[in-house]
Symmetry: C2
């Protein structure tokens, strides 16, 4: 094992260590008054109850899938025998990360509110470092699992001819991503339905019917709403990016093993560990970045944003330098080109974040225009939001298209020759790793959002001093911006990761095909024979655009995306309706709620959200898991290939559309509340509240769930590749 | 020329003759009172003024494109020299069809209202036969142009070896579809923006602010709204289906020439004329079907629907029998399989229509659920509509996926062998022809909708007897149902046509490639050599899913769809806002409007809609025309192939989503107005009006415009194929 590999376990331990340090630091802060403690406990208990319930369901699903994988591996022999174990550990670690992150967030909220009683700076630091717990736990556990498996498999898998050992190891490790994917699916879909059922339900009765403000303790659904922020935005987002981080590294490792299979074990090993090491370095730099975030008292929103941005940007800048050093030290062939691919990925991530900000922040034209159309009522506001959302999806699609072209070109030395395809695919993979390298700190800024939001809710519910609430509001407003760019980042990373996974799907099929051909792996004109067989593979499996199975697959891929997002959307509608019924019931039947003399029954609202989320998440999840297998059985490899690219391209577009339209409506409402176009209470404001409510499931349920869908369907295809290859009917 | 070919010009002349007969019949009916004449004249003049303005813009666009095509043909030599002429005639005939259809519709409305003063039956017959003018003019002119070009080119194109003569002829004729496409683009986009700017504008001020009913003569935008029905739903729909009809026949002719190129001229000719003859027979049966539509006085909506359905279904049933006879007489190889493909196409069209009805009619669960969610306000209603619309898109995607698989399998004798690919593509083409065979009568039921709508408007504005208005309302309600299924039919036919066009794109590239290889066209193991070269072609142009250019192309295709529909959506928002300003201005500044003593300035509202539509349609149209060329220049054939499949699949899905969501909101509102969930004037009704207004640009602007986009982009790629082949950069 090259010495540099040990940076990976080191990065993992450092991340986990600092996560623990930040967690202890946060826990040592005071939680404030008894009232603050009580509210925080309600939220914490609700979130834990939800997560326990969710994990119960997930464990059953995992057991079923493990049985299936065991049958495929030990019964039919079309899967590697390690797969069930890798699948289980992936799921376990992802679940653990979500649990820790959510714990930290729910412990932090009251403490952040309390810290704001001292100063804005201490509030910001506490909130951000509590968010960093989540970020560092996620990257730490991913790197831990990866390094442990890599070491173990290196010892246990027997040596094989022609670099097949590393191919086998990386192929097994990739199925670790399937566990993370499955866990993330339930976290995003279930959490997304939970949070928006509570939020929409609370808004519909509280804000619109009863006319009480947001986060008012008289609203029975307000605790459920706060719980939702934690299970949806913290645990869900964490599981989502856990998976992207893991899958991008593992897919790239496999692509590296395949690309350099004819170059001898030393170079091949370097190509395999390169993405791991870059991720580890990124993790170390993220920790450094966390320490750079601080602000002065009385800072405005711009200044706060700048101080967060400083930490993130410094980490990104340093990773540009550090990744060059890593690649230089590894002396991989064309290391300069690979470095270009990494920088491309990083820049693509930043550009997508910028475009998200442009389309959703009220500082820019699009959101202001949406706000202005509130003057003619809710219908024009919604038409305008949908129109702008659709247009906004075009920009990241374009960015990813450019990024693919550049990353591929850099990695192949600007050649589109099929003989260099392998290097190009590795380039796309490593671009995804570059995009995600600074995840530790990016995720910290994401998780910061709901923590600040909850701190504001706590301050509001406990009736803290106006000055304190001004400070929590400042932190919350900042959180909305980081949440929006974070969403763009999450979707962009999902798309690039899914493409890297798609490439590794092709590599896995091709490996089977090459084994089947039994070609020796000698060089032909300096190109390994395995590359020369690329077109044979295309010919054999007919993964070309004239094959009707490919076309049918693409149509079915788009179909999956639409039906999945429609179902999650309707799930929120149904669950919110139940919540509305419950809140109305409590207002009518519990005397003294509106006067504030009796506490509403918060727990019942949490229970309703929990039950509905669990019920509603099953069918869409089943679709995501089963369709790739069914298409594989019917149409074989070519159908699956079409299915995946159809899912990735349309799912990515729909996800951006939904996230941006929802974000823009949210901020248009806030812009009006700041006093524009009539301000709070005007007809325009009412229209904007409707738009905001419509946008809730767009941006927090269906949109983010699509991130998982596009990765999970590829993952499911990757791990059941043997089925499509051996048992396809048409 | 085989004798049976002469059915094509015969069908054309019969269609045009009966169109004229129905037109004269309609013109001989009385237009009613002076007031009725006045209102009808306003609408007619407004529609003519709009169409004149639109044709002025379109003529300029046509001249520019003709110059470009002439340069490509005569300057660079990468295009056939006939292309500019075929392009011009296609555009001319499509424009002519739109003009006649709209004339007939605007002459008919007052006459239908007047006929309803006599009886429901005479109203229905008059309205339906006036719609049939449009239907028959469209199919008649398509068949006229096709048969004329086919005869002329057969005489003028010199004989060539190995069936290349028919390849050349069909390739030239296909560019006739490009003219129709371009014309349709402006008709759909411009007409769609016009009609919804007027409709939304009229509703926002009239219904919501001033509280006056729809079609109230006091509303200044009401004439513009009625004009819009004619330019959008009649002329726009006609141009759309003109193109589908033409393109499906022409693409299939080309696919037939390619599939049977090694079989000698006789069989090849039969394969080429088969789609034309089937379309001609369908036209004759459509005329028969028109005569079968009649109803008894006092018929309920179900009975009315049944009488329309009887005509359409009888035509469809007869075409099943007749197409079998045609194929039997032609004695094409595997004629039974081809007949299976035709029946598949027909059934797919019916199934898509049924699914549209299920998801949008208030007789079924989905729309009722949307209506019921109005009880918790506009936000849940919109969330529910979006969710249901997304799910509803899955069904037609699935239907088309099944139809492709079946049509392909029937045509190849259930083989997915690459050697039979050609026959399979021909099968997909002929399925599209089957779907569209009964267009004459289907389009009559579509055009009937806006005629009945306008008749109702005329009756309302002229304050006719309640009994008469009850009758026009019955006709109008029926029109809403036929409009919804008609939309499904239009989108389904667009998708299948676009796929047939995509197949012919591949054939055109392959022809260039085969010429370039200079292979003789003898049989190899019974398979013509040109088929054996399919995989060579795939290899050469790398149209496979591992090629990054294909992936980038797919992303750019999805991007085009999203940006195009977002732009058309926002265009309606902006134009409606202008209309709102004008209507508000008139209410304030013209005294006596609200009392009904002074006429509002109708013409000014028509002028605003016209100006805005012309202004707003340019940019999205430019995108549709330029992107295929730019992608071809950058990424070559493989990039274009990806672009097209990305556009078709995601555009189809988004179009269905938008059409169905919009239709469901519309009918949910009507369902509430019938007295459910609180009825007219309730809070739920207000919510439903908001939903309906949001749905207007969904279902009548962006959705239908996507039909054109998916066909036009393929067309643009087909006619500029020489550019992508000869000048691509990467």
């Amino acid at each position: 094992m090259p010495l540099i590999f040990w940076l990976v376990p080191l990065g993992s331990l450092m991340a986990l260590g600092f996560a623990y340090y930040f967690f202890r630091q946060m826990m040592s802060a005071s939680e404030g008054t008894d009232q603050m403690k009580k509210i925080a406990r309600h939220v914490r208990e609700g979130a834990s109850a939800y997560l326990r319930q969710q994990y119960k369901v997930v464990i059953i699903v995992f057991l079923v899938i493990t049985v299936i994988f065991s049958f495929l591996a030990y019964g039919l022999g079309v899967q590697n025998k390690w797969v069930p174990f890798a699948f289980l550990t992936g799921g376990f670690f992802s679940g653990l990360a979500g649990y820790f992150g959510m714990k930290a967030a729910t412990y932090a909220s009251a403490r952040v509110a309390n810290a704001c009683r001292t100063s804005l700076n201490s509030g910001l630091r506490l909130a951000f470092r509590s968010g960093a717990v989540m970020g560092l736990v996620v990257v730490g556990l991913v790197l831990l699992d990866i390094s442990a498996w890599f070491i173990v498999l290196n010892l246990l898998i027997p040596e094989a001819m022609d670099g097949y050992k590393l191919m086998t190891i990386t192929a097994i490790m990739l199925t670790f991503g399937m566990g993370a994917s499955t866990q993330a699916l339930f976290a995003r879909v279930g959490g997304g339905i939970f949070t928006k059922a509570a939020d929409v339900g609370a808004d519909l009765v509280g804000k619109i019917e009863a006319g009480i403000p947001e986060d008012d303790p008289r609203n029975p659904a307000t605790i459920a709403d706060n719980v939702g922020d934690n299970v949806g935005d913290v645990a869900g987002m964490g599981a989502d990016l856990f998976e992207s981080f893991a899958a991008s590294i593992l897919a790239t490792a496999l692509l590296g093993a395949a690309a350099f299979i004819g170059y001898g074990t030393e170079i091949q090993t370097k190509a395999v560990i390169a993405p791991m090491v870059i991720a580890a370095i990124g993790t170390l730099l993220s920790i450094a970045g966390v320490f750079m975030v601080r602000t002065r008292e009385g800072a405005g929103q711009k200044e706060l944003l700048r101080s967060l941005g400083f930490g993130v940007n410094m980490s990104a800048l340093l990773i540009v330098v550090a990744s060059f050093l890593v690649l230089y030290l590894l002396q991989l062939p064309n290391y300069l080109g690979l470095w270009g691919a990494i920088v491309t990925g990083l820049l693509a991530g930043i550009a997508i974040g910028q475009s998200t900000e442009y389309f959703t922040a009220s500082a820019y034209g699009p959101t202001r225009k949406i706000a202005s159309s509130s003057q003619t009522g809710p219908a024009p506001l919604i038409i305008n939001g949908v129109g702008t959302g659709l247009i906004s999806a075009a920009v990241p699609l374009f960015i990813i298209a450019v990024a693919i072209t550049l990353a591929y070109s850099f990695a192949t030395g600007f050649s589109f020759d099929v003989g260099k395809l392998n290097y190009g695919l590795y380039g796309i993979g490593i671009a995804a790793v570059g995009l995600l390298a600074t995840l530790g700190i990016t995720l910290a800024t994401d998780a910061y959002g709901p923590i600040a939001d909850n701190a504001g809710g706590n301050a509001e519910m406990c009736g803290l001093d106006p000055e304190v609430r001004r400070r929590t509001d400042a932190l919350d407003a900042l959180g909305n911006t980081t949440a929006a760019t974070g969403k763009g980042f999450a979707i962009g990373s999902a798309a690039l990761t899914a493409l890297a996974l798609l490439a590794s799907y092709f590599e896995e099929v091709r490996m089977m095909f090459v084994k089947f051909l039994d070609r020796p792996l000698e060089l032909i004109n300096g190109i390994p024979a395995i590359e020369a067989s690329f077109m044979d593979f295309v010919t054999h499996y007919e993964v070309h655009l004239m094959n009707p199975r490919v076309i049918v697959g693409i149509f079915l891929g788009v179909m999956s995306v639409f039906v999945f997002s429609g179902m999650t959307m309707n799930a929120v509608g149904r669950a919110a309706q139940k919540m509305v019924g419950e809140v109305r019931r409590q207002f009518l039947s519990i005397p003294g709620i509106m006067e504030g003399t009796t506490d509403p029954d918060y727990a019942r609202c949490v229970a309703i959200s929990t039950r509905e989320a669990q019920k509603e998440m099953m069918l869409p999840s089943l679709i995501a898991l089963l369709i790739p297998v069914i298409v594989g059985l019917l149409f074989g490899v070519s159908g699956v290939a079409g299915l995946l690219i159809g899912t990735i391209s349309s799912g990515f577009a729909l996800a951006i559309f939904m996230a941006n339209a929802g974000g823009a409506w949210d901020n248009a409402k806030k812009y009006i509340e700041e006093g524009h176009f009539g301000g709070k209470g005007s007809e325009g404001h009412k229209a904007a509240v409707i738009g905001d409510t419509v946008g809730d499931p767009f941006k927090d349920t269906s949109g983010p769930s699509l991130n998982i869908l596009i990765k999970l369907m590829v993952m499911a295809a990757v791990v059941t590749v043997g089925v499509a290859v051996s048992y396809s009917m048409l």
